[in-house]
């Protein structure tokens, strides 16, 4: 019995392998087009003008028109006034101090021994590794530090500490442009897409970001293009309603996210908003079809104007896979900034250092907790100072 099954499996596998081989021999489609049936949303190769049509014409599946959720009846008294971004910095520092204390302290303790020997360097290395900094940056940092300590012949912990701070700071690179595109571009709003893998907190980030922007007196429209996860659109709409921001969403689950995104941008243009924030469904970066879908969302949006900002949301607990995530997402949608969330746990989020170095994509925002105003601008100095504080 078992045996027949095994044979059957073998045969089926053979068929599978033959199939894979067969299908792969088909000529690769020209770049920028779909592998399969041509998609009506595809901008196409030729110079065909894009029709200014309603999306239900563009979408053959006859999507129900995404409806605009108006904030509750009398929004004025209910709308909150979120805390301004500037004052958040202080809290960021305090929080980082708290969450990264162990890291900073142990490093200092190590370096303030009388003599700096091999064991100390090993431990420095391991400590950096434990912050998810990654092998390459860690080894580089330790090597450089070693050289400098040797060259300068110092055994003074204070001095070593300032050297370490310098090197770390150089790695985090404070000179990067970490500003968000949040002003109108000519006659259209700035368009921001938020992407990432499952469970990192994209929807929450969009909600918090909307609050930040409202606090800066920007007019915002939200697009709930996460049509996959149950109740994601609702969650986003609640965030929006809190600060008197409209949310464009589809009234059924599983609608085409590109259509919702398109509609959100159209609504943003109509309302003359400053910023349109589009939330997308979480997807693992190795799922080719889902990444294609993401590419499509962006292309469809771009019928109405460039996407100015693509923010990749990363969970601070993510390890070295974060780098792969960043790479793949950057390939597909050209990520312009990182949002590091859940930095309030024990995780250090060191992977962003490697990402910044390898891809040149700066960390722009950090999420520090579950509170509505716990999203703060990233500050390299603050980050490093907090790492090294005692």
């Amino acid at each position: 019995m078992e045996f027949t099954l095994i044979i059957a499996v073998v045969i089926a596998l053979a068929v599978g392998v033959v199939l894979v081989g067969f299908l792969d021999r088909r000529p690769a489609p020209p770049k920028g087009t779909y592998k399969e049936v041509r998609d009506p949303d595809d901008p196409g190769r030729g110079g065909t003008a894009v029709l200014e049509r309603e999306p239900e014409v563009v979408e053959p599946e006859a999507e129900p028109e995404p409806e605009v959720v108006e904030p509750e009846a009398e929004p004025e008294p209910e709308v909150e006034r979120p805390e301004a971004a500037g004052s958040r910095l202080q809290r960021l520092r305090a929080r980082l101090l708290k969450s990264n204390n162990v890291f900073g302290k142990s490093l200092l303790a190590l370096l303030s021994r009388d003599r700096i020997d091999e064991d100390v360097w090993d431990e420095v290395e391991e400590t950096l590794l434990m912050a998810d900094l990654g092998t390459e940056p860690t080894m580089e940092l330790v090597d450089r530090l070693r050289d400098r300590v040797k060259v300068e012949g110092t055994q003074d912990p204070e001095q070593v500490r300032s050297l370490l701070r310098e090197e770390l700071l150089a790695m985090v690179d404070p000179s990067m442009d970490r500003r968000l595109e949040a002003s109108r571009k000519g006659d259209r709003p700035a368009i921001t897409m938020v992407v990432g893998v499952n469970g990192v907190g994209k929807t929450t980030t969009v909600g918090k970001l909307a609050r930040v922007l409202v606090a800066e007196d920007r007019k915002v429209v939200l697009g709930a293009a996460d049509t996959f996860r149950a109740a994601a659109a609702e969650q986003l709409a609640t965030w929006g309603a809190r600060v008197g921001v409209d949310t464009v969403r589809s009234d059924k689950d599983g609608a085409d996210p590109a259509s919702v995104a398109y509609e959100a941008v159209a609504e943003g243009i109509r309302q003359e908003a400053d910023v349109v924030l589009v939330d997308t469904a979480g997807r693992l970066q190795n799922k080719a079809n889902l990444m294609d879908e993401l590419g499509k969302i962006k292309r469809v949006i771009e019928k109405q104007g460039e996407v100015d900002e693509v923010l990749l949301v990363l969970d601070a607990t993510t390890g070295q896979n974060g780098l792969t995530q960043a790479k793949v997402f950057a390939e597909v949608v050209d990520v312009t900034g990182i949002v590091l969330t859940k930095l309030d746990g024990t995780a250090k989020g060191g992977i962003v250092v490697a990402i910044q170095r390898q891809l040149g994509v700066p960390v722009k925002l950090v999420g520090l907790g579950e509170g509505a105003d716990d999203l703060a601008p990233f500050s390299a100095e603050g980050f490093v100072d907090a790492l090294l504080a005692d």
Binding site: E2, F3, T4, L5, I6, I7, A8, V10, A12, L13, A14, V15, G16, V17, V18, L19, V20, G21, F22, L23, D24, R25, E126, M130, D132, G134, T135, V197, N198, G199, G207, A230, A231, A232, E234, Q235, T238, R242, L284, Q285, N286, K287, A288, N289, D315, A316, T317, T318, G319, Q320, N321, G322, T324, K342, D344, G345, T346, K348, E370, A372
Partner: protein, 527 residues
């Protein structure tokens, strides 16, 4: 999965190949590479330290001078250590001896607890249980609703007396402990034999929520507390696992998002630090993408040895028995392999879920991973269309398909003639291969089942030699063979390390000498 880790290790060992003897410097260099590979795979630093120390010690010890060449020796040591860390045996859910079994899920935010609850319910239901889902996550917006949707998809009732919160701005009300207790009462009154409690996600440092989980645990006294952890987690895995183990205490671990390309070193770390077994793995967004975690199989996956056991189990679950038997009989009788068979096999494969995933479990699949990842599942339908556009006669005797028939078939299935040609060509090769296999050319080795002592030949990737005969024409002999095979399977299941054949040499893995029948490599090479 552990793709990158096995890549790294394979690379490391390639350098060792051909060395007659390992010097201490060699071992040091190898150890450094392994260390780096493990660190890059997010294995926690303390775990790596210990792992490396162990490997160094063993590699330098007396073992080196034995019969194996040194490269193989290191591979063997690494494998054994991996199996040991991942935990020896598969552990299943321990059901209550009497009354309702209570399962509780805990974990960080975003680890995938609620999604997992649905999958677990689905799995238990298909195992003949009558689970009840209890929504105790009153913290996260819409968690209750998500669980209800998951339960609906799985066809499992959800006990959710409290709607939870629907936005971040509502203050969580309701007492999760009470909900859990009520849920169990509900299960008892409606004769559900398993209760799955979904709890709020929490950070390891959040004392309040940790206390809540502890309270729920104390109140309901669950049979199993499952700690759900994301395979992508980095060095924080250790701190998190420890916090949960000390805070709530768990009995088993579930690894989620294993379908991503995270290297999954967290599996090693958590297991090593807490000593708790990894029980399940979640491998996708669908309800069925959920499997029992097999440490030994995982170790062989790490070392790119395929996962044939899982494959066969999947087949057992999903395949049409009579169809499989018919096929096997045809095969044994050396009947011609027709396009009809080709299609029915294809459909069977499709039934097992993702074809990609199935093929990935094949030994040596790692080296064609890229190809597989690009493989578009929906294109199978096109092949089906082509075959369905043929007349029954054509399917049995593809030789009669001449030019005009090809044109007709292409037209009928909406593809180009060259695609029809390519399919026929491929099919011809497949047919030849089948014939060869059936006529004693040998069945491809089944590494997951492990060679018995003295039968190591099946593992060897040499083409066409030392392969076992498929099945003897003599019924008595065939029965004996079958028995021997089953014995071997049973043996290898008990002793995972034994799958490491004496002549196994992962450095020799490449498309040419995969564990595939001769001729298979053609399909991999010519692109």
């Amino acid at each position: 999965m552990f793709n990158s880790l096995s890549d790294r290790l394979a690379n490391t060992f390639r350098n060792l190949k051909g060395k007659g003897r390992l010097t201490e410097a060699d071992i040091d260099a190898t150890a450094r590479e392994i260390r780096r590979a493990l660190l890059d795979a997010d294995v926690a630093v303390p775990v790596v330290r210990q792992f490396i120390a162990q490997i160094k010690e063993r590699a330098l010890g007396a073992e080196v001078s034995q019969a194996l060449n040194p490269g193989q020796q290191v591979v063997k040591i690494v494998n054994e250590e991996l199996v040991e860390i991942l935990g020896g045996e598969t552990r299943r859910i321990q059901h209550a001896k009497t009354g309702t079994t209570v399962l509780m899920l805990v974990g960080l935010q975003g680890a995938g607890k609620t999604t997992l609850a649905g999958k677990l319910a689905h799995q238990l239901k298909s195992d003949g249980h009558t689970p009840l889902l209890v929504a105790c996550d009153l913290q996260r917006p819409n968690a209750v609703k998500q669980l209800q949707v998951g339960g609906e998809r799985a066809g499992v009732p959800v006990f959710a007396p409290h709607p939870g919160v629907s936005s971040e701005f509502e203050v969580p009300t309701g007492d999760p402990v009470q909900v859990a207790l009520d849920g169990i009462a509900e299960a008892n009154s409606k004769y559900h034999d398993v209760v799955i409690i979904d709890t709020a996600g929490r950070l390891g440092v959040d004392q309040e929520l940790m206390q809540q989980a502890k309270d729920i645990r104390a109140a309901v006294n669950p049979n199993e507390v499952l700690f759900v952890i994301d395979a992508m987690i980095g060095q924080d895995a250790v701190a998190t696992a420890q916090a949960f183990n000390e805070g709530v205490g768990f009995t088993g671990v579930v690894l989620t998002k294993l379908d991503g390309d995270a290297r999954g070193g967290a599996a090693l770390s958590v297991r090593h630090v807490t000593g708790k077994p990894i029980m399940f793995a979640s491998t996708g967004e669908g309800l069925k993408d959920f499997e029992v975690f097999h440490p030994d199989r995982m170790a062989s996956r790490i070392l790119d040895m395929g996962d044939v056991m899982s494959l066969i189990e999947q087949a057992e679950k999903n395949w049409d028995r009579s169809e499989a038997e018919k096929m096997a009989k045809k095969f044994a009788d050396q009947e011609d392999f027709t396009l009809d068979d080709f299609m029915s096999q294809m459909q069977q494969l499709k039934k097992m879920g993702s074809m990609k995933k199935m093929l990935m479990m094949m030994p040596g699949a790692q080296s064609m991973r890229q190809q597989l990842e690009q493989f578009d599942e929906s294109s199978i339908d096109r092949v089906e269309a082509i075959i369905k556009s043929m007349t029954p006669h054509e399917r049995v005797a593809p030789k009669i398909i001449n030019g005009s028939r090809r044109a007709r078939i292409a037209k009928g299935s909406g593809v180009s003639v060259s695609e029809v040609n390519a399919l026929l060509e491929r099919f011809g090769q497949a047919q030849k291969m089948m014939k060869k296999m059936a006529s004693g050319g040998g069945m491809p080795g089944m590494p997951g089942m492990g060679p018995g002592p003295g039968r190591g030949g099946t593992r060897k990737k040499g083409k066409g030699k030392g392969r076992q005969k498929v099945r003897s024409g003599n019924p008595a002999k065939a029965a004996a063979e079958r028995q021997a095979l089953e014995e071997r399977r049973a043996r290898s299941a008990q002793k995972p390390g034994s799958m490491f054949g004496q002549d196994f040499d992962p450095s020799s893995f490449n498309a040419q000498d995969l564990n595939l029948p001769a001729g298979f490599d053609k399909y991999l090479k010519d692109r």
